[in-house]
């Protein structure tokens, strides 16, 4: 076992992990932050997307120890109390989810896009979401939600 420390959603945490413990398992099992989902565990689907030092990553394809000392943001870190983050609100408003399984990853990926591109076009959004798979929606409303959410984040 080794000791790992990181900041998760602004809170300093420390835990004991094995070398092989994935970041997503540390978040879900150890920290009980189950908003981050595991869809495939094979680096394809993006349901496990979180931010590490501001960059969107697949937390199923990163060891917890690789995030030692980093600042991690998960879906739980976006809302301000009962007030949804503008990107979450946009997904609700535009019906950007059905079963909701892919949604945490979609939203974490979308907020990373919005940080770089305040007014993404439909093509920008579709290109950016190439690593996030959804089995329900057919993507149309997700794209609408991300375009609206990115603009709302500037407001």
């Amino acid at each position: 076992m080794a000791t790992v420390s990181m900041t998760i959603n602004g809170k300093q945490v420390t835990g004991d992990v094995e070398g092989r413990t994935l970041l997503v398992d540390f978040l879900r099992e150890d920290q009980r932050l189950t908003g981050t989902h595991v869809g495939c565990d094979t680096s394809q689907c993006g349901a496990c997307t979180v931010h590490v030092d501001g960059k969107a990553v697949k937390s199923c394809t990163m060891l917890a120890l690789q995030a030692d000392g980093a600042a991690v943001t998960t879906i739980e870190g976006l809302a301000d109390g009962d007030v949804l983050h503008p990107m979450q609100e946009a997904f609700r408003e535009h019906h950007g989810l059905q079963c909701g399984f892919c949604t945490p990853g979609m939203i974490m990926s979308a907020t990373a896009l919005a940080a770089r591109n305040a007014a993404p076009t439909e093509a920008d959004v579709r290109h950016h979401l190439e690593g996030n798979l959804c089995r329900c929606t057919g993507y149309h409303n997700i794209v609408k939600a991300v375009m609206a959410g990115a603009r709302a984040m500037q407001a």
């Binding site: 092989r20 094979t42 993006g46 120890l65 690789q66 030692d68 990926s109 950016h128 690593g131």
Partner: protein, 264 residues
């Protein structure tokens, strides 16, 4: 994943020492290929040595003749580097076409070429631009680096430090991507360089290779029509559920013409 011992390297020398002293040690860059391979139990190293903390391995420097990219530089950093976009736009555009944003945030140029996946994009650039791979032991010409499927000139434990790309007169990379993974079904880098025309193909064979008949045809006349008479044999090309060898041979011609046209 089987259990292993994790080490964080402090420096290149420290990483080399840690790999050397392990039973079956392996270097890790972003882990974007290594971790999925270990999850599938296709690799089961006793020790994993993480290069993530070795600051000297990441970064881009550009001179009048050369773009040098540290092994640990992510695809995202190359894709968004103003200096790379200016000096070798084809290289920035290639990096921006790899996988998806999350893969580009973790995947590195060193890991990509060390792994030498037959469908990886960067080998096309190393070969097509005549780059040099600089390791902790020596400099390896790009032409000698890729030796077969997942096989390179690297010796066990040898660490890539950086890749030096000579700035071409003009170059373009065009790929026919697998629509799911974005890996190259066929990708072609065409370039006019100080040492002549280079055409490198990735995705089509066991590893990236130069298409010398095309280079000869383009030497006198660097235009898509110069490739009209050049046929590509499907012998030895990859065939899988995505494309047959015959189709890949056809795509090499189409992608090469598009790459030459894109050179402008």
């Amino acid at each position: 994943m089987y259990a292993f011992t994790y080490h964080k390297a402090e420096s290149v020398a420290d990483a080399a020492a840690k790999v050397a002293s392990a039973d079956d040690g392996v270097l890790m860059a972003g882990g974007m290929t290594l971790l999925p391979t270990m999850k599938q139990r296709l690799a089961q190293p006793s020790d994993v040595v993480d290069l993530g903390g070795v600051a000297s391995l990441a970064g881009i420097s550009v001179t009048a003749e050369t773009v040098s990219i540290g092994a640990m530089t992510t695809h995202d950093a190359v894709a968004n580097s103003a200096e790379v976009k200016q000096a070798i736009p084809a290289l920035a555009s290639l990096a921006s076409s790899i996988g998806d944003p999350m893969v580009r945030n973790r995947g590195t140029i060193g890991g990509s070429i060390a792994n030498n996946d037959p469908a990886a994009d960067y080998p096309g650039a190393v070969l097509g631009l005549g780059a040099t791979v600089v390791t902790d032991k020596r400099s390896i010409p790009g032409d000698d680096f890729f030796q077969g499927m997942f096989e390179t000139a690297l010796e066990p434990g040898e660490i890539i430090q950086r890749i030096d790309f000579p700035i071409p007169k003009k170059a373009a990379y065009v790929k026919f991507p697998n629509p799911a993974s974005r890996y190259a079904i066929v990708g072609v880098m065409a370039a006019e360089t100080a040492s002549g025309v280079r055409v490198a193909v990735t995705g089509a064979g066991p590893c990236a290779f130069r298409e010398t008949a095309m280079e000869t045809a383009l030497a006198g006349n660097f235009s898509p029509s110069a490739l009209d008479g050049v046929t590509v044999s499907p012998d030895g090309l990859n065939a899988d559920i995505h494309a047959s060898a015959v189709y890949r041979a056809h795509l090499i011609g189409v992608m090469a013409k598009r790459a030459v046209a894109a050179c402008g």
